[in-house]
Amino acid sequence: MSEIALKELLYKMADDQLIQGHRNSEWTGMGPLLEEDIAFSSMAQDTIGQSLALYNLLHQLGESDPDTIAFTRNSTQFHNCVLTELPNKEYDFSLIRHFMFDTAQAIRYEALTRSSYLPLSQLAIKIRGELRYHTLHANTWIKQLGSATDESIERLQKSLLYALPFALGIFEESPYEKEIIASGIFEGEQKIKEKWLTQIQKIISQTRLTFPDIDLIQPVIGGRTGKHSEHLQPLLDEMSEVFRIDPTTEW
């Protein structure tokens, strides 16, 4: 197994989760219902916690410590998909993104429970329950809001169409795709993308939302190789505003 291929996988997963968790944490204290505010914050904490676990694996493989990796790189060095860095907009978009992203997470980690890289399969088994909650939460909200009022259906439909090209970018293949599959570390983006599509469509079919013809949608890729939207750098600047005052001190 080549270490470069493994690190590439860990980096993109960790960056995805850090940025997604960071975005979702912006809702804390401003959610649509007190109880949902709490639930959404918990999931953001889970997601950032999972990214930290991955950065720790990278650290064990010789990369810098998690704080340095997360708080001092600039946007071109981040491997997250563009979906995660998009601004929160209104709750419809935040929910749709949560639904799409966490469904992909659940499927990805389910595959990783069989990874030949033991630390990753252990992590995947451990956080199964966390991801079960995330998808239960997402599916319930989408099913309910997707079949409620004209306004909620219209909002979700719009956000679904807007998010979809970015969501397909989750599955942007790595230059080491063949290698990582051959080594048994990960079964590859193509496979989980298919499972993801089936699962997303299954939930959407239980609502009054319509799922577009997926073949006509052009995925937004580039995130995995550091090509990001204009939204990521400001996010990172904000995230590291205090840390950068003195990256060598303990805060």
Binding site: L33, E35, I38, A39, G129, R132, Y133, Q144, E238
Partner: protein
């Protein structure tokens, strides 16, 4: 909005006029009672309420509102309106004494969960279940089975099939809870750092 808070600066502008349109009543929804099992084999205990639009959503929202911190093994919720409540007593008076004796009815029976309050000021704790055709009968039957020992100040009866239980496969929802040390005071021991600092200052 002009602010020191970057999140506030990003907020969309929403004009004051919007609020004048009357809000629908029950904008915060109805309430659901939340019960938690602290340990495998320990009885479920009443913990509080969540506001939620329906039973399934109540379950999802209750999970983080009530079980994000202390370890537990299971959770369930029920609409507040499904909880049948006996009169409340105090002192030596047992609430069961105010429940008329059971008149065995021939109607179809269903299961009711029974809860006791045995210390005023504390929470209701699950006691067991009975088969009855209605809540009054359930309490009367409970009187014959569960009224022994301690004085009971208040009894609740809830029809079991109105409850959203945790399913068998959802049991893993809480497995990583003990590892979430960042939510725990024990993870913030400043002692050694403080000591080193005080030594240096001397």
């Amino acid at each position: 909005m002009n602010s020191l808070d970057p999140r506030v600066i990003r907020l969309p502008k929403i004009e004051q006029e919007d609020i004048i349109s009357p809000k629908i009543p029950l904008d915060q929804f109805g309430t659901f009672e939340v019960f938690v099992e602290p340990k495998e084999g320990k009885p479920f205990q009443h913990e509080g309420i969540v506001h939620a639009p329906n039973l399934e959503m109540a379950y999802i929202l209750a999970k983080e509102a009530f079980t994000r911190r202390f370890t537990c093994t299971s959770l369930y919720v029920v609409d507040t309106r499904e909880v049948y409540v006996s009169p409340m007593t105090e002192g030596e008076n047992n609430a069961y004494e105010l429940i008329p004796d059971a008149k065995e009815s021939l109607n179809e029976k269903t299961t009711f969960e029974i809860y006791h309050l045995i210390k005023r000021g504390k929470q209701h704790v699950h006691q067991g279940h009975v088969a009855a055709s209605n809540p009054t009968e359930a309490m009367a039957i409970a009187k014959t089975i569960y009224n022994k020992g301690k004085t009971v100040f208040n009894i609740w009866a809830i029809q079991s099939d109105k409850i959203r239980f945790t399913t068998q496969e959802e049991k893993d929802l809480w497995v990583t809870l003990p590892e979430k040390k960042f939510r725990d005071a024990s993870d913030y021991k400043g002692g050694s750092k403080l000591k080193a600092f005080l030594e240096k200052e001397k």
